[in-house]
């Protein structure tokens, strides 16, 4: 493995949003990408770079942002390797490309620390029951830790 290559794909290396946008950027006509393909895009090192990407994709699938191709889905199978592809779900596309409205952004910017805490409490109650809550937690942790590449 060359010096500086990514060996893992943790949140500290690449955010969920970045990964999902990379999927969107490299999708085939059926919307699918393949783990080996993305491992090349990101220059993942180690003995099993495709497995590193597949692990991250598996997490994103569990959180509802990606879905796996079926064996009969058009464009869903890599002709060379036989790998099944991955593509963005509606939630995944929203996470990748979503944006707050200007008025929403301004309202949030004007909040004082007490209001921010109340908002966080409300957010915890709103999203705790579904996969969105997991993404909120991951966004916060990535923001705290920072990318290292």
């Amino acid at each position: 493995m060359a010096e500086g290559q990514l060996e893992h794909l943790t949140l500290f290396d690449v955010s969920d949003r970045e990964i999902l946008l990379i999927v969107r950027d490299h999708a085939n006509p059926g919307g699918y990408v393949f783990a080996g393909q993305i491992s090349t895009v990101l220059d993942i090192g180690g003995e099993h770079p495709g497995k590193v990407v597949a692990s991250r994709f598996s997490w994103l699938k569990r959180l509802g942002a990606l879905e796996r191709a079926g064996k009969t889905d058009p464009y869903g199978t890599d002709e060379e390797t036989g790998q099944l592809g991955w593509r963005l779900t509606e939630l995944g596309m929203a996470i990748a490309t979503g944006k707050l409205k200007k008025q929403q952004q301004q309202s949030l910017d004007r909040m004082d620390p007490g209001e921010v805490i109340l908002l966080t409490r409300w957010l915890g109650g709103r999203v705790s029951q579904n996969g969105v809550g997991r993404f909120v937690d991951r966004e916060y942790r990535f923001g705290k830790g920072g990318g290292r590449r």
Binding site: S15, V41, T97, G147
Partner: protein, 163 residues
């Protein structure tokens, strides 16, 4: 299906791993692979925090012994920053260069060449811009025959146009 098959000659029975156990084991291995770098990073940050706390205590102790106020942190300078965290102006300048470059994406070397800033400043600024989601990692750029990187493909970045 039995997990142990008795053998007539008295040797230890062969253990056949059940599919569910195999799936569980593989899942645990994958989870372990995800956890390891997080724990390593946390340990590194905790060690750095401990060092910083020790340095701060030493400075305050000396200041107290001299009966003087603790020295203030130097004011941040504009333009090129000598600290690890680049100034907002530097970040904005790098963002502007990337937005106006006409390139689909840029490596840190491209940014360094375009701005004249040091590699460490560029890297720190790119990290801050990624955290702020003003730019994003887009992949890597294969560079044939480039001995500087020793075969490693440099990461590429682009301004965030989505969201």
């Amino acid at each position: 299906m039995d997990t142990a098959t008795p053998v007539a000659n008295g040797a230890a029975p062969a253990v056949v791993e059940r599919p569910l156990d195999r799936i569980r084991r593989e899942a645990e291995e994958q989870l372990g692979e995800l956890l390891a770098p997080l724990r390593a990073r946390r340990a590194q940050l905790e060690a750095e925090l401990k060092d910083l706390s020790s340095e701060e205590e030493e400075i305050l102790a000396v200041a107290g012994a001299l009966h003087v106020k603790a020295p203030k942190a130097p004011a941040k300078k504009s333009g090129k920053s000598q600290t690890h965290l680049p100034s907002q102006k530097v970040q904005d300048d790098i963002y502007a260069v990337m937005a106006k470059s006409g390139m689909a994406d840029m490596t840190k070397d491209d940014v360094r060449d375009a701005t004249g800033l040091s590699e460490s400043t560029v890297m720190a600024a790119l990290r801050e811009l990624r955290l702020a989601e003003r730019i994003r990692l887009t992949g890597s750029r294969k560079r044939e025959g480039d001995t500087r990187t020793g075969g490693r493909a440099p990461a590429t970045y682009a301004v965030m146009t989505d969201g």
